[in-house]
Symmetry: C2
Subunit: 366 residues, 2 copies
Amino acid sequence: MAMISPSRRVRRTPFSDGVEAQGVKAYTVYNRMLLPTVFESVEYDYRHLKEAVQVWDVSVERQVELRGPDAGRLMQMLTPRDLRGMLPGQCYYVPMVDETGGMLNDPVCVKLAEDRYWVSIADSDLLLWVKGIAYGYRLDVLVDEPDVSPLAVQGPLADDLMARVFGEGVRDVRFFRFGMFDFEGNTFAVARSGYSKQGGFEIYVEGTENGMPLWNALFDAGKDLGVRAGCPNLIERIEGGLLSYGNDMTRWNTPHEAGLGKFCSTQTAIGCVGRDALLRVAKEGPVQQIRPISIDGGLPPCDRIWPIVVNGKKVGQVTSAANSPDFDTGVAIGMVRMTHWDEGTKVQVDTPDGMRDATVLEKFWI
Amino acid sequence: MAMISPSRRVRRTPFSDGVEAQGVKAYTVYNRMLLPTVFESVEYDYRHLKEAVQVWDVSVERQVELRGPDAGRLMQMLTPRDLRGMLPGQCYYVPMVDETGGMLNDPVCVKLAEDRYWVSIADSDLLLWVKGIAYGYRLDVLVDEPDVSPLAVQGPLADDLMARVFGEGVRDVRFFRFGMFDFEGNTFAVARSGYSKQGGFEIYVEGTENGMPLWNALFDAGKDLGVRAGCPNLIERIEGGLLSYGNDMTRWNTPHEAGLGKFCSTQTAIGCVGRDALLRVAKEGPVQQIRPISIDGGLPPCDRIWPIVVNGKKVGQVTSAANSPDFDTGVAIGMVRMTHWDEGTKVQVDTPDGMRDATVLEKFWI
């Protein structure tokens, strides 16, 4: 691995001082901001995440705020998911598409009020698309990036740690719901969500100045729980089938190819700019789709597309891969053509370390 | 410095194999792609750039292509620079603004034909803004990112090296013009431009598969010229006053604050979405503006805003800084309020290593 050069352009977060004090070893850049990727080691962090509780700086999940009388109309223009039943206090996972049905992002939408939403984005400048659409349609809506930085608390002991800092009421927050909770005079939205399968919360911390006090309070309260700084874990997220926009799907893919057809109500999502383009794929289904892939042998880091081949012909591609200690195999996410996507199909994967035998699966490992 | 984690999401370039073979030591991430920042050392690379010739992988300057009958109209909507006199074969530096006059990017626009432009972007997903505007206005234009990756050849010996590979005719390309030149059966746009003050060219390499053959040809042809792999150099670009979007100006700044008023013809740039917002600032001038700042004493890396203070009051901020061997001072770019922007004004800069004496200048060092 090479080093990452410092610059203001690659933004620090409200929690960067804490992340550095906890000995972060590597970063990626996500939404032009630092996202920690390794503290002790990917394998150590993985084990700890599954057994204890971690605090994650996921400020890179920037918010796009929509506020004003047309906020609801604009939200529906952005996604093929039908939002008519969405209530304030709910979080929806919403694939976002352009006019061709190509994915622009796969954020979590937080409905704060009938006329106010936060879109908690994956890695693309969704703000620019939303601003362009709002301007082109002359909508009565303010679109901006507020000073909000999510902090995640993940792992089996997350409820215990959170209850110590935010009170017992936090245990009652249901999955993909949020409540408003007080911390030292501020009130933050706290959602039961997060980019792991180990359970936990995401705190939408408003105000950069409130970042480190909350960070420190969580570490102080969690000493006997073995709390550590963590981050989205490559192995755990692949095992759990958590997709990564830019890795596993891009603007060239539809939500249906990404396996997100269940979040699309293309018939009734009236006003969605990609609706017409997606109607046919919604009816007939995609010709390629994301699948879990089990790969034999130790794997190198996956920093580029690995072709999936059968008899010398490309039938798909792997885009995320890691060696899983718990499942004792290479775990991977790939896009596979329908001719080879059935459970148990034997394929080969062309890695930089050579060709590997692999099996297409139907369900992720956990 | 921490390490950078590999992933497909942080894209490799057509030249990455060459960059690695030449021993790249550090990267930044720019437009979700790898941009080398250090080969030998920033200081060594700096000296070599000023004395010889370097080949730079600047694939991160992604292109946004506008093609179709409304391409010209759309281009003018994006920028306050008057484009009426622009001819095919010209390159224009075009600040791009949103409806509030806030800068979204500061790309170089390459006019390939009356109905076809490449916008060679700085670090923001300008594609999404352009697509949103085009969709909202129902313009007859295709907007996409083509498979084009710029390769820069920079330094005093750039003309000699380029003539060996593209023929003597390349010497006749004028500044910010481009010509079409052949290389092994392909024809590439070759512009006299680049992100240094040492002179040179940018080759718009179409087709990923054509990247490494050209890279290798340049290194083979330049052995006796001492050609090396290089990259935009932090020290040299600050000395030369080359701004960096995301570092020195952001969406919160107008082009006039960035000192780019000379590229704005706000009165006549009819159709520019930010025209109304910029009319007043164009007339009265900004209240803060970018200035070169000379800072005493050795400087740490500048990875965040450094406040500029006078008598305990903030009067601006430094956003890029480095130690200059040639000018024997800390060279910096900052945004300074009009009360303190006059040449020679003494200020202090609040760095992580302590308060430093500094002087506001009018002209960059070279």
